[in-house]
C-alpha cells in the first residue's frame, strides 16, 4: 500500500456549529455528537447504512463549497434544478481550509447524472460538451457517461466530492475510477467519497469514516460492514441465502 507523504490538502476538515439547521438533519444520530470532522488530505470515504446521513453530509459539503446540490461543477450552479431537495445542514458547516481553494472542484452524484446529462444538452453548453465528451451523454449508457465525467472532467489540482459513484458503475468501471483517482492524487487532488462499495472503499491509504448511531468514527477496511458482509456472502452464498430466506 502506498504511504506517500500528504501534500497540499485543500480542506483540513470542517466544524459543525451547534445551532440547529432546522430540518431533519438535526435528528441524524450520527451527526448529533459531532463537533468537528477531520478530512484526509488525499481520500476520505464515508460509509454507513442507508439513511445514516453520509450522502447528506457530502451534499452539505458541496453546497458549502457552492457546488450545485444535484451534481455538477460551478458552471451549472444555477443552470438547472428539477427541484430543491437539499437539506440545510450546510448552514452549520464551517470549512477549515489548509491552503487556497483548488482550481477545480466537482460534485458528482450518481442519482442525478441523468439530469446533469439533460442539463448539459439543453442549456446548450455544446462547446464544453463536445470538448469533454465524444458523443452526447444520452446516447451513452449512464455508467459510460458517469465514467466519462470521472475520467475526463476530473483534473489535477481539484477537490472532488463523489456521492456513491459506484451506483452507475460495473466493478470494472469502479476499478477504472480507482486508477484515475490514483493518477490524480499525485497531482494535488483531494477526494471525499460516500460509498456502499466494498471495492472502492479499498482504495489504498484512505481514511474511512463510518456514520452510525454512535456518531462518526474511523474504521479499518477489514472491519467496514459492507466489506465483511460482502466477503462472507461471496464465501458461502448458499448458506447465507438459506438463512436470509428461511
Amino acid at each position: 500500500m502506498s504511504t506517500a507523504t500528504p501534500r497540499s490538502p485543500f480542506l483540513l476538515g470542517f466544524r459543525l456549529s451547534s445551532r440547529a439547521a432546522g430540518d431533519y438533519t438535526d435528528d441524524l444520530p450520527a451527526l448529533r455528537p459531532v463537533e468537528r470532522i477531520a478530512l484526509d488530505p488525499r481520500v476520505t470515504f464515508l460509509v454507513g447504512e442507508n439513511g445514516s446521513g453520509k450522502s447528506t453530509l457530502v451534499e452539505a459539503l458541496a453546497v458549502a463549497l457552492k457546488l450545485n446540490a444535484e451534481g455538477g461543477g460551478r458552471s451549472y450552479q444555477f443552470g438547472f434544478t428539477t427541484r430543491r431537495t437539499h437539506a440545510r445542514l450546510h448552514r452549520r458547516l464551517e470549512l477549515e481550509w489548509a491552503s487556497l481553494p483548488p482550481r477545480n472542484s466537482f460534485f458528482l452524484r450518481a442519482e442525478s447524472v441523468f439530469n446533469l446529462a439533460t442539463a448539459i444538452e439543453s442549456t446548450g453548453s455544446v462547446g464544453e460538451m463536445q470538448k469533454v465528451y465524444e458523443q452526447p451523454i444520452h446516447e451513452q449508457s449512464h455508467g459510460e457517461s458517469f465514467l466519462d465525467i470521472a475520467l475526463n472532467r476530473l483534473a489535477p489540482n481539484g477537490l472532488y466530492l463523489l456521492d456513491e459513484p459506484e451506483a452507475a458503475l460495473s466493478v470494472r468501471g469502479q476499478l477504472a475510477l480507482m486508477q484515475r483517482m490514483h493518477e490524480l492524487l499525485d497531482r494535488d487532488c483531494q477526494f471525499v467519497v460516500a460509498t456502499h462499495s466494498p471495492v472502492l472503499v479499498g482504495f489504498p491509504g484512505a481514511t474511512i469514516l463510518q456514520l452510525d448511531d454512535d456518531g462518526v468514527g474511523r474504521i479499518e477496511y477489514d472491519a467496514v460492514p459492507q466489506v465483511e458482509l460482502t466477503r462472507s456472502f461471496l464465501d458461502e452464498p448458499e448458506r447465507f441465502l438459506r438463512h436470509l430466506l428461511a
Binding site: 427541484r83 449508457s141 452507475a168 458503475l169 480507482m178 458482509l229 436470509l244
Partner: protein
Amino acid sequence: MIRSVSLRREEVDASRYPFSIPALRSLTTLELHPQATLFAGENGSGKSTLVEAIAVAAGFNAEGGSRNMRFSTRASHSELHEHLHLVRDDRPQRDGFFLRAESFYNVATEVATLEVSGYGDTPLHEQSHGESFLSLALERFRGRGLYILDEPEAALSVQGMLALIRRMHELASDGSQFIVSTHSPVLLAYPGGRIYVLSEAGIVETPWEETEPVELTRSFLADRARFLHYLFAET
C-alpha cells in the same frame, strides 16, 4: 407475465444503434425465467437498453414508474422496443413497476408532486435515495406483479440489497416476475433465477460464479494489496 422476448430481426438495420450493440446483434429469442431473470454485463453492454425496451414494450413509461405515470423529462429511450415481440404466459398481472436507478430521482419528484398515496408516510425526497427505493419495493410492490428493475442496487447498502432479495423472494413465490439488470455480485446470487451476461459474445446464460462482478469482487476481497498493485501498474 412474460415468457419470452423476440427481436423481429427482419425489421431492423443491424448497423444502426441500438441494434449495432454487439450483445444485441445476434439477439433472436430470449426465454425469461418465470420468477427472475438477471442481466449482467459491462457498462455500455446494452443491458439497460434491453431492460428498458422490454419495459416499454410491456407498457411502462421509459423513465420508470408505474403504468399510470406519464411524465417525461426527456424521451431518451431507444427504438428497440418497437421491434420486440413479447410472448406472455397465462398468469394474471395485477401489479407492475419499472424502476431505473438513474431516473429514480425523477420518479421521487413525480410521486411528491402527485402526492400519490401508497409510498409510505415519509415523502420520498425526505428519505435517502436508498431508503426511498427500499420503501418502494417493500410497500408499493403488492404482488402478482411484473417488476422491471434497472440496476436497483444503485442506492442500496449491502444490507439493503439483502432486504431486497428477501422481498423479491416473497413476491416471486406469490406469482410475481422480476426482470433485473445489475452489476451487483450479491443481487446476481438471487436463488432460483437465471443470469444472462451481455457481451461481445452476445447474450449468454452464465453460472453465478463465472460472472465478472463475482470473479472481480472475490479476488479483490481475497488479496486487495496484490490486486491494487497490478491495477495501478497499468496506469
